[in-house]
């Protein structure tokens, strides 16, 4: 603890001693009590070897076979110093494997330079998105700070752990052992590969990476081999976690959280300037020099849904739109502190239309939402349904259920578990041999706070309100993950 912090706390203690009342004591107790949702950001102390999950509800649907890989921070705290932001925990790769009606769970930490160094020191010292770090850090290149903790890209025998400031980390799909840092081409070593690759209808994988106002556009073959890499200039340098794509275009959303100063931790580089509005840049996949800019009122975001073109030439996409970056800066810090009220308003599911004549508008569904996802069969194609987590409230931004929104009718098909469950992002698993947009299962884990364990659920995408068709329960709780993908 540094001298100024110690002085502050001693001053605060002296002040509180002068004004303590029973109400104050109760309020202070509530503030200092560990939150009921603390399992979401607990530390896992060791890998979880594969074990069978117990079926506790319903029946496994016929034809649901494959693996759900998920990634998310699994450890934050060490005796000599801790990560202070949700985005900085050590990457924990999870696999839920469903076969013959049975589900297994396993989890293994990505073997990163950061984790090796901090394990040896017994302290988190590496600067991160929100964590300051200290002088013991060893960062000679971005991959020395790579937490490999945000998302996954399954590629046959491998699954890549994705971050956003560095390279993918290749892990074995079979046993989640870390294999290597991925360099897609020697002259592109260390170029950033973000957490939300988009797959187009032909199976080509698109992704981006950022440095200031320059963006690398990655194009990979379905097997993960590099097809092309190009640098595109952006109209502003800012923070961007996601991008989206239609069949023919890449869509880059430039919120007004713009580069202001060279500083660490990473989030301190940016300033929220709503007067700049939010810009959307559309890039022609066939010619990356052909770009168009659209202007929208200011909003913040982390996650976008797949985009589509309609007959009029308009491009549409949905997203979880926020008012500002309070959650990113403060909310994600409080989640790791595990006490008190979490700052930041929940986002709303909204639809952006970019017209061929240059006009743009965004309409809100009014529905609180995060992690918007669509049927991968529809990637880049005209669609109407979006799944999302639901139930977040101001002060407790942890989802308690999920929903499928229909943009044509404006209706939500929703199921809520109540606040004894923390719902995680859901993936769509298209039903084999079927073609309809809702011919799919929605598969997602949750943290059952009452039982203190992780569960895995499958829903019918067309009948979410009926509740899960099957629930399996583990004998261990994994901290909440961010993003996942299904591998059939």
């Amino acid at each position: 603890m540094n001298a100024s912090r110690r002085a502050f706390l001693m001053g605060a203690a002296a002040l509180s001693a002068a004004v303590v009342t029973p109400e104050t004591v109760r309020a202070m107790a509530a503030l200092t009590a560990t939150a009921d949702w603390a399992l979401a950001t607990a530390d896992l102390e060791a890998d979880i070897a594969p074990r069978v999950m117990r079926q506790v509800h319903g029946r496994a649907p016929e034809g649901l076979e494959g693996a759900l890989f998920r990634n998310g921070p699994g450890k934050f705290r060490r005796p000599g110093g801790s990560a202070t932001h949700w985005f900085d925990g050590d990457g924990l790769m999870r696999a839920f494997r469903v076969r013959d009606g049975q589900a297994t769970i396993e989890a293994r930490f990505a073997d990163t330079a950061k984790r090796r160094h901090e394990t040896a020191l017994g302290a988190v010292v590496t600067p991160g998105f929100g964590t300051v770090g200290d002088s013991r850090a060893q960062v000679g290149s971005p991959d020395d700070a790579n937490a490999a903790n945000t998302a996954v890209l399954p590629l046959g025998p491998e699954v890549w752990a994705l971050w956003e400031g560095g390279s993918p980390m290749a892990m074995s799909a079979d046993d989640l052992a870390t294999r290597r840092i991925v360099t897609l081409r020697d002259d592109l070593k260390g170029m950033p590969f973000q957490a939300h690759p988009r797959v187009d209808p032909e199976g080509t994988i698109w992704n981006i990476g950022l440095a200031g106002d320059r963006m690398i556009v990655w194009r990979l073959n379905p097997d993960g081999g590099l097809r092309s890499a190009d640098i595109v200039r952006l109209p502003r340098a800012g923070y961007m976690h996601d991008f989206t794509a239609s069949a023919r275009h890449l869509v880059v959303v430039l919120q007004p959280w713009v580069f202001e100063r060279d500083a660490m931790p990473f989030m301190n580089r940016f300033a929220w300037k709503p007067e700049m509005g939010t810009q959307v840049m559309v890039i022609d996949k066939a010619d990356l020099t052909r770009t168009r800019i659209f202007e929208l009122p200011a909003f913040s975001y982390f996650h976008l849904g797949d985009a589509w073109e309609d007959a009029s030439g308009a491009i549409r996409f949905d997203l979880a739109a926020g008012r500002d970056v309070t959650f990113a800066i403060d909310g994600a810090r409080v989640l790791v502190e595990q006490r008190g009220t979490v700052p930041g308003e929940p986002a709303s599911l909204s639809l952006v239309t970019l017209h061929a004549d240059g006009r743009a508008e965004m309409v809100s569904s009014g529905v609180t939402a995060e992690f918007p996802k669509a049927n991968p069969r529809m990637a880049g194609l005209t669609r109407r349904h979006t799944s999302h987590v639901a139930g977040e409230t101001g002060g407790r931004p942890l989802p308690t259920g999920l929903s499928v929104h229909d943009w044509e009718t404006g209706r939500s098909d929703a199921f809520d578990f109540g606040d004894r469950q923390i719902m995680e992002e859901t993936v769509w698993v298209p039903k084999p041999g079927r073609t309809g947009e809702l011919d799919a299962w929605l598969v997602a884990p949750s943290i059952n706070l009452a039982e203190g364990v992780t569960e895995l659920h499958a829903f019918e995408a067309g009948r979410v309100a009926d509740g899960p068709v099957v629930t399996w329960r583990a004998d261990v709780a994994l901290p909440a993950g961010f993003h996942g993908a299904w591998a059939a």
């Binding site: 850090a137 960062v139 000679g140 020395d144 560095g166 070593k189 320059r214 580089r269």
Partner: protein, 184 residues
């Protein structure tokens, strides 16, 4: 610049600090957002390195025993092509922004792996090294200005968002001292 980008650009600039009485050729656009002193990439030219060799050789006096120490750096390289470029510094001031006291090239393609600095006065030294894998005479960079060829410092020291500091990289040289440096 993202996390670690400035570290790598600084490290590259540090390693590329070998001068032979010529100005280092500075190329490339400043990386957006980086302070200008860290944002420029520097290019090593073989001719500059050769000139550095010539100057050093010409300047070396014939000394008696007070300069009887040596530092041998053995390089563990991933690639077996090209050359390892080494710049050796004898003070923190020189390491941080001045001239190397010795330089060396290790012909990895020709089977060599060691740089031997003999006849050194006993004292503290630190080296900045990089493996010019493709033999083009310069530290290759990716489009965002980060080195794509391996670089390293004595003690295999790693920097904290920059080149390894003198404190982390310095080696006490008294008598014959040897180290293995990883360039992978």
């Amino acid at each position: 610049m993202g996390i670690g980008e400035r570290a790598a650009v600084d490290a590259a600039n540090g390693v590329a600090d070998v001068r032979g009485g010529e100005q280092a050729v500075v190329i490339g656009a400043p990386v957006v957002g980086a302070p200008s002193s860290h944002g420029m990439t520097a290019m090593i030219r073989l001719s500059m390195l050769a000139a550095a060799f010539a100057l050093t050789a010409a300047a070396a006096p014939a000394l008696a025993d007070p300069a009887g120490s040596s530092l041998t750096l053995t390089f563990d390289t991933a690639a077996q092509s090209g050359k390892v470029m080494v710049a050796l510094y004898d003070t923190q001031a020189a390491y941080d922004g001045g001239q190397p006291v010795r330089v060396a090239q290790v012909d990895v393609a020709g089977g060599a792996h060691d740089a031997v600095f003999s006849d050194l006065p006993a004292g503290e030294y630190a080296a900045k090294t990089f493996h010019d894998v493709d033999g083009d005479g310069s530290m290759d960079k990716n489009p965002f200005g980060l080195p794509t060829e391996p670089y390293a410092f004595t003690n295999n020291a790693v920097g904290n968002m920059g080149p390894a500091s003198w404190d982390r990289a310095k080696v006490a040289v008294n008598g014959a001292v040897a180290q293995t440096i990883r360039l992978r």
